[in-house]
């Protein structure tokens, strides 16, 4: 053991006693890593009838073969991925102006608006989904408004129980997650660059297009990847507003653990979902800011 002379060794307050080290490694391993790994191994088990084959001599790739050969799963995964990309793009399109507006505010006002943006996030997710459905529905607020304003004379039904509804609902739910990373990247822009641009005769629009926008792109990509990951993992919103035609990959996975009761197959599907998520995160952190944990 190293001797410690009154804390002179910076970065090291003595040695960590081994029981603590063991705990520091053990707890996250036991409660996070092992569950994730047992999940991965489960995808190689199989179910016949109600009997689960889970011995290690009996592992199989059948679940994966089924995913790649069946006509259902890959198309749904593809559709879901496209849908979530659309959600990410829409959320960024709405989120960017808001972030820009917030970043341009001064002092207390800025944080007040930021707080206003965050409050809906703390509001029950389930309630928001329900409310969105009731707003979009045949008898909902949106249809009443459109009918009252004379734009339509029959309630529109295409707002609920299809993929468009999922798209709309997810976008509305996830916009705040798009605003935050963009806001942070706009906040980090050095003021003197903007001033230099103005000094050199650029108009506000030119400054925005040639200085602000390119420099905030990492924030935009981080935001998009953030929203994408949240959207693709969501199985509640599609369940609630998607109806029969709005089937997403998350719903299929969830059904394997519920009604279909095929955990190994559900695990294999989830592994695929993980792969898509990991790609999104890698793209996000490679080209964007680090995800906004701070």
């Amino acid at each position: 053991m190293k001797t410690r002379i009154a804390g002179l060794e910076v970065n090291q307050i003595g040695r960590t006693p081994w029981p603590l080290t063991l705990l520091a490694y053990g707890l996250p391993t036991f409660f996070i890593l092992i569950p994730l790994l047992s999940f991965l191994t489960y995808s190689f088990f199989w179910v016949k009838g109600t009997e689960l084959h889970s011995s290690f001599q009996d592992l199989t790739f059948l679940n994966y073969v089924r995913i790649f050969t069946d006509q259902i799963y890959l198309p749904v995964l593809w559709r879901t991925t496209v849908l979530c990309l659309e959600v990410a793009v829409l959320a960024v399109c709405f989120g960017y102006p808001v972030a820009y507006f917030l970043a341009s505010l001064q002092g207390r006002k800025k944080y007040m608006f930021l707080m206003l943006l965050l409050v809906p996030l703390l509001m029950s997710y389930v309630i928001k989904i329900y409310a969105i459905r009731s707003i979009l529905g045949g008898n909902g607020f949106l249809n009443r408004f459109l009918m009252a304003s004379g734009l339509i004379d029959q309630p529109l039904t295409f707002f609920v129980f299809n993929l468009q509804a999922v798209l709309l609902a997810l976008t509305v739910l996830l916009i705040p997650f798009a605003v935050l990373p963009i806001f942070l990247s706009l906040e980090k822009l050095p003021r003197n660059l903007l001033e230099a641009s103005a000094d050199l005769g650029a108009s506000e629009l030119q400054t925005f297009l040639r200085v602000v926008l390119p420099m905030s792109l990492p924030g935009v990509i981080a935001a998009a990847s953030f929203v994408f990951v949240l959207a693709i993992g969501d199985f509640l919103t599609p369940q609630m507003v998607g109806g029969n035609s709005g089937f997403t990959f998350g719903r299929i996975i969830y059904s394997q653990f519920g009604t279909a009761y095929n955990w190994p197959f559900g695990s294999a599907l989830s592994v695929l979902l993980c792969a898509v998520v990991i790609i999104a995160i890698v793209v996000g952190s490679r080209f964007g800011n680090k995800r906004g944990l701070a």
């Binding site: 003595g14 996070i32 999940f39 928001k128 607020f141 990951v229 701070a294």
Partner: protein, 266 residues
């Protein structure tokens, strides 16, 4: 300083629209909580508090609320202890694998909740641990740990080593240094993290729905009720929850915003 340009008006209008989109789904149930709903139609003629009176008698909801609070508080306490310990470990230990430990801690936050939830579901099943509120608490702890850990670690890293060295120089033991020097400096970070973690736990639905047994938390209860259609007392509950969370946010922002944001800007 800025002129009121056309672009700026457009920007403000768009921001306004987004805020309407965000607040619309919140205000609809709140406003309707003060009116009577009959056959799916809201009777706008007179406001009343009937929905709130109904709520008091709804045992299922109240039990669910109790469970939610129990789970939230337990998960927050566990996450604070663990997060503090793990952040100190990362900051002060020289252990070679600490980066990997950090990576593991972040995983449940990076992965969609459905993955975390399913992994825990299978894990509990593997070790024959029956699903109950305890599994929900574990799930929530795992979920909020990353946030708590990160908040504490950021604060720890902004804390200079010289204060800790001074403490040792003055003859304090490791434990004394922790209690008298490190902990007081972490106070606002801990409070902020606790509030955020509680808010996350309070609303956590996707992990909970997978790892819960027969016990309901509030979001699960609401989710189950939605399929049968809402009763008016749910709207009342929503209004109360919103009022509660708004207060919570205001308190949290007092704890977190002034310090974190001003130091970042300085």
């Amino acid at each position: 300083m800025r002129r009121l340009s056309l672009g700026r008006i457009g920007l403000g209008a768009l921001t306004g629209l987004v805020f309407i989109l965000l607040y619309g789904p919140i205000f609809v149930p709140i406003v309707s909580s003060f009116f009577t709903v009959k056959y799916g139609q809201v009777d706008w003629s007179h406001a009343n508090l009937d929905a709130y009176a109904l709520l008091v008698n709804n045992d299922g909801i109240l039990t669910a609320l109790e469970n939610t609070l129990l789970v939230g508080v337990s998960a927050v306490v566990l996450a604070l202890i663990l997060g503090c310990f793990l952040a100190m470990f990362y900051r002060f230990s020289r252990s070679p694998g600490r980066g990997f430990v950090q990576f593991i801690i972040f995983l449940p936050f990076l992965m969609p909740p459905i993955i975390t939830g399913l992994a825990l579901l299978i894990f509990f099943d593997d070790i024959n641990f029956d699903r109950s509120l305890i599994t929900v608490i574990i799930g929530h702890t795992v979920f909020v740990l990353a946030l708590v850990y990160r908040t504490i670690l950021v604060r720890l890293q902004s804390l200079g080593m010289n204060m800790i060295e001074a403490s040792y120089d003055l003859g304090a033991s490791g434990w004394q240094t922790f209690r008298l020097v490190i902990l007081p400096n972490l106070k606002s970070a801990l409070i902020g993290a606790a509030i955020l973690a509680f808010a996350l736990s309070f609303d956590e639905t996707m992990i909970t729905i997978l790892v819960t047994g027969t016990d309901n938390t509030l979001p699960i209860r609401l989710w189950a009720m939605m399929r049968l259609g809402f009763t008016p007392d749910i709207n009342a509950l929503v209004a109360i929850i919103l009022a509660f969370t708004t207060v919570l946010v205001l308190v949290a922002s007092r704890q977190l915003i002034p310090k974190e944001f001003t130091t970042r800007e300085a």
